[in-house]
Symmetry: C2
Subunit: 582 residues, 2 copies
């Protein structure tokens, strides 16, 4: 039963005790594959039988079918594990195209793939249940689920699922920062349904403004589209909306052309401020040319049914603007079920579940978290500096030679990725350069370094520690990484592939998760896209738009959605976007 | 102002008096193009200006954008009339494909065309307002409209529209026959939204039945799909659902395959009983082979959240069946606004607005009704028999010669289409045969016939009078017919093209509306379709399915929707239907 405990997090209480392992094994063999707590006659003979057959397989429960969950699911080997996926959505959605769905450039059906299609293509026992996880009970290794659809039910919409290993990939929700009125009056842009609602709402605004009994003032108000948040989603939506209006809607509502206005409210000094400054400036200039007003340095303090109230950073006081539609896109917040779970495991008041570098949730056994609901808590080099020195100092001389350091440097770099980032930021070619600096200060001729010198040599590397962005790219890589670890669990027990353990003996079974950044796009409308590619390469313009088309087409989860998305783009070129209010 | 009065219905009060005409003209010129009763500052300068320019144009208000309204709109000449279209849907939907939308064979976006796209292609002043007509005030020639969308409003969502001529094409709603529980628990299949809801609901049933905590009994219940009504819509939906399940869903939910059941409840003795008996039998046999249960002779008496209660015709007593989803498709009922209007004009307790053969609403001036909200009240030959005889008896001899009869027979056939239907049903080649029968009975050698003989000769022709079916075909033909009448109003005033007036002098300005039946399809699933074509030609099978494909593709309202629909069909062949619950 120690299969998962080889991940070996330092605090001992997290490791399975032999007694508990035996009990768990007994329980698993005895057929408790899943226990339904419905009061009705739960004659789940099939389920119980298959559980008995697969009694030796670990039950892996995956929560969520977003980027992380689906990527895990696609890569996990169903012949090794009993996989159960629980999600309120029976499909995977290609969320980077959501802004395109809001204006009908791409249809919502084109960017979704049923989870069961993905399962069908895999071997092994994989089950999907469309339900929402409402509570994680880590103590009893159970999750509470709720089926919540439009069907008439008889009170048995709640059920329990037991797990041996839990993979939490529930994602995040929109963050309102508790601003009053946001939930009641604003649109969000996280789910397919949100995009569909926004699409209807845009048409509502135009139809509203076309009615005969309105004053010009009222028409203008109905056609004022406000986007709160100047991040990639908010900016892409603004650009899409602008294109939709000038390419399609003005032809159908010509009398309203001069009344439409788009405003982006951004609390920071620039929109797209997570991108290179050149991209921010280009975007701001393009928006200016397009007539999209960008209000930077404003924080929204409340939203009423008629107006948005905001506060300027430079003491401009409180100001209000009337609107027809608001889209709120200011970043991500924590789902209630995750908040509740964090409280259980002593992670209260965090934004996301803290995991170690192997995606294991801190303070909780056999639970993994990935994607937007989790952040990796990277260990600092300085916290382990003595242990690193001790391991490196093979001859226990109290000093480290360059040779000794070189022997462990690879393991250090794998275990603490911030070291490599620091070297890159300082344009150093090798970690030995770190020591050289320190040695020079210490004793000029010496080839060795003592613990104090070692500490001072590495004292700045932790400054390069960064949280990973909450993007699809990170989530997908984490899902694939975790599935690979699960699939190689047995083999890596004997032949660990991870770095040296500095605080214990031996090697880590796996390398810690390492994120590879492949760049990021920021579509700006008018067939222009900005891209920040690896190596600080910035690209802007029409050619980048075509790069965007090809990357997004190639990244589709199936050939079906790929062809549908390309078909939608073609349709848009030929016929424009549809403005029917459905 | 007498442009419309040349339609000349016999009762004089319906004709515009000269004084009223002058008043109306004055009012129109004075700029009251439309009066909004919003309390806000209605500075509709543009609207008023354009109304002043077009002051001489009649304001034609069209209610509804279904088959009748859209067909009228496509054909009306916008340079002659000031056309205003009011409808709660800003698109036209190709409703015959709705059953395909319920299962995702065709996407809802593929069968809708924005009304503004249609207007854009037309010249002249045509306006569209997305609002629901909540009251028709024929006395003051105004309609009350209500804008009812998800937008936040400030109390001015109601407005008035004035008209000179009103075209009512509001369609019908589903008829529940006041059966308790139907509105709360059943799906309908009239609007795009209905089809989308059904699609989600089908997936809900399958996801519900997949949950781990259900007994087999409960799974079976969730997967029991009941269709109430064995007409073309109900049967086509059943067939589509069956195809969706066996072609797509069983691959994704293999464990549920044996638990699914489809039941069609039909109050009559056969399904598709408006079709030829051969088609009914074929459909019933095919459904039997497919495992679709057809319960004929059962009337649903109530629907609860769990079960449908029904009563057999042959005193089987009351029985109940549990269901997962019910689709109610038993025919059409009257919309509340039409009921209210009928009460105003003395047509209380009717199912639909009664019009004359020129689609003019009885008891109401300058109001036309077409499509499912209206029925043509065809005059009987026997009611006008003396007038017909008098007009035909040119020499006022008191008897009719064959020659005299032949001179008016064409006019009779045009004015009373039942005559031609009667001849066809009796396999007579000419109307003179009618007289021959009568003469033989009367006086064998005489070439003449008196009023009594004439009456007896024509005494049976009215038996062939039939109400037109409530189909898209009828509505579309009526819309095109009425638009043509409106467009030719001026010209036909001088050169009437209609038949002789038998109850007054001169000719009718236009020929009465005559429906041409081009046949009807009944898709039965499994790439098989039944068709009843003109001339009692019945065709069933795969080749008819291809005829169906080509007819439905060719009948699309635009090239855009045509290509989208064909694209959807192709997609279904290649990838199957999507089962994502969105």
């Amino acid at each position: 039963m120690g299969v998962f405990s080889i991940f070996n997090r330092p605090p001992q209480p997290f490791r399975l005790s032999p007694t508990f392992s035996k009990l768990l094994l007994l329980f698993t063999v005895s057929g408790g594959g899943l226990v339904a707590y419905s009061e009705s006659n739960s004659s789940n003979n099939d389920a119980i039988k298959s559980s008995q057959l697969d009694a030796k397989k670990k039950r892996v429960v995956v929560l969520g079918t977003g980027w992380a969950g689906t990527s895990f699911l696609k890569n996990i080997d169903g012949s090794i594990y009993d996989v159960r996926v629980v999600s309120p959505r029976n499909y995977f959605a290609f969320t980077p195209l959501l802004p395109s769905v809001t204006c009908g450039t791409v249809e919502s059906r084109s960017i979704v793939e049923p989870i069961r299609n993905i399962i069908k293509k895999k071997s092994g026992d994989i089950k999907f249940w469309e339900a929402e996880c409402v509570k994680i009970d880590a103590k009893n290794k159970k999750i509470h689920c709720h089926f919540n659809n439009e069907m008439h039910l008889e009170g048995n919409e709640d059920f329990l699922v037991e797990y041996d290993v839990l993979v939490i990939a529930l994602g995040a929700r929109s963050n309102t920062f508790n601003t009053p009125g946001v939930i009641e009056h604003c649109h969000f842009l996280k789910e397919i349904e949100d995009a569909q609602k926004i699409r209807r709402s845009i048409i509502d605004c135009f139809e509203r403004a076309s009615l005969p009994n309105l004053s010009e003032e009222e028409r203008k108000k109905a056609l004022h589209f406000v986007i709160v948040g100047g991040g990639p989603t908010g900016v892409e939506f603004s650009a899409e909306l602008h294109d939709f209006i000038i390419e399609d809607l003005v032809n159908l509502y010509p009398m309203l052309q001069d009344l439409v206005k788009i405003t982006v409210i951004q609390s920071g000094d620039h929109i797209l401020n997570m991108f290179d400054g050149r991209i921010s400036s280009f975007a701001e200039e393009k928006f200016k040319r397009d007539g999209i007003e960008v209000k930077t340095g404003f924080r929204v303090v409340s939203v009423s049914d008629k107006a948005i109230t905001m506060k300027g950073k430079q003491n401009e006081g409180i100001s209000s603007i009337e609107y027809g539609m608001v889209v709120w896109s200011t970043g991500i917040g924590t789902r209630p079920v995750i908040m509740d779970f964090m409280e259980q495991i002593g992670q209260k008041d965090r934004r996301a579940l803290a995991t170690d570098e192997w995606l294991r949730v801190h303070g909780c056994d056999n639970v993994y978290a990935l994607g937007d609901c989790a952040t990796i808590h990277q260990r600092k080099v300085m916290d382990d500096i003595s242990e690193i020195f001790n391991v490196a100092d093979k001859d226990k001389s109290g000093t480290l030679t360059v040779k000794e350091f070189q022997d462990v440097i690879d393991d250090i770099c794998v275990r603490y990725p911030q070291v490599e980032l620091y070297l890159k930021s300082k344009h150093m070619s090798s970690a030995v350069d770190l020591l050289n600096n320190s040695k020079l200060k210490d004793k000029e001729e010496s080839e060795e370094i003592d613990i104090e010198g070692f500490k001072s040599a590495l004292s700045h590397v932790d400054s390069q520690m960064k949280n990973l962005p909450a993007t699809a790219q990170v989530a997908a890589q984490q899902g694939a990484y975790l599935a690979r670890c699960f699939n190689h669990m047995k083999g890596c027990e004997d032949n660990p592939e991870g770095p040296l353990r500095f605080r214990q003996s031996g090697h880590h079974r796996f390398r810690p998760f390492l994120y590879k950044h492949f760049g990021q796009f920021a579509p700006l409308g008018g067939e222009q896209t900005a891209a920040e590619l690896p190596g600080d390469w910035v690209s802007v313009g029409h050619s980048t738009q075509w790069l965007w088309y090809s990357v997004y087409a190639s990244k589709q989860v199936s050939w079906r959605t790929r062809i549908l998305v390309i078909g939608n783009w073609t349709r848009r070129f030929v016929f424009g976007r549809d403005s029917s209010r459905i």
